[in-house]
Subunit: 121 residues, 2 copies
DNA sequence: CTAAGACTTGACGTTGGCGTCAAGGGCAAG
DNA sequence: CTTGCCCTTGACGCCAACGTCAAGTCTTAG
């Protein structure tokens, strides 16, 4: 697969893929003319990168985690790191859930008010 | 309350509070010498701002939502906006939860591998 | 009174994950 | 051959939420 194909399949820009390679998150084999070629697993890898970015991890953090995510092989420190990031994400989920629930309360209250208004008028 | 007190109580920097004021998210009363003074509700307001920032909203979006969050009064369009943001946050929660679960699977797999290793040695 | 801390405005610096030209090279179809 | 699309490197732009001086003012405890 060439870069455009991977980009389309993963739903990102080619610029992003080159950036990932620059950060060491993605590797490619070059043809004689210098064009990048990727294996099938590249798409899944990119999806992992996107998911971890969305979870607030930096390139460096992802760089440390991707090998064991992809190969399943991990040193004890890598497992520690995995668990730490998992905990951060879990904390984030709890925070966002709480915020969502508070928003729900606000929405309910606002609706109540607007109903009062329509009764009053 | 003066700015430092609010900052400490809300767990943010004074710089952040001045920035919020600049963005219209927070108001203060000035003393004769120009110093800012805040009411008690400022702390809660700042906490709302922090929560909404953490949920990925921009200053502009927060600016549009804070009035009805704080006063409980909302036009139908504001309620629409509240619901839209609530949905975005909910989607985010679902994504992060999925990522967390995938990470759990990776951790479990890696632990299995390391147990195999310790058995082998 | 005075020293130390808290406050003011102003303005530039930072960071990351790309977007976006710019200027050129490669390759299958007609 | 050439047209048109995909690819390359390089480099600057961007945006938001502050951090971080700088240089001066206010306030308050002793």
């Amino acid at each position: 697969m060439r870069i455009g194909e991977v980009a389309t399949a993963a739903g990102v820009s080619t610029r992003a893929l080159r950036y990932y390679e620059e950060q060491g998150l993605l590797t490619s084999v070059r043809s004689a003319s210098g064009q990048r070629h990727y294996g099938e697993d590249a798409v899944e890898r990119v999806r992992w990168v996107q998911a971890l970015y969305a979870a607030g991890l930096s390139s460096r953090a992802i760089l440390g985690l991707l090998p064991c995510v992809h190969t399943g092989v991990a040193t004890p420190e890598m497992i520690e790191q995995l668990i730490a990031e998992r905990e951060r994400i879990d904390a984030q989920v709890r925070e966002l859930t709480a915020t969502r629930d508070r928003l729900d309360a606000v929405i309910a209250a606002a609706r109540g008010r607007s109903r009062e208004c329509s009764y009053a008028s």
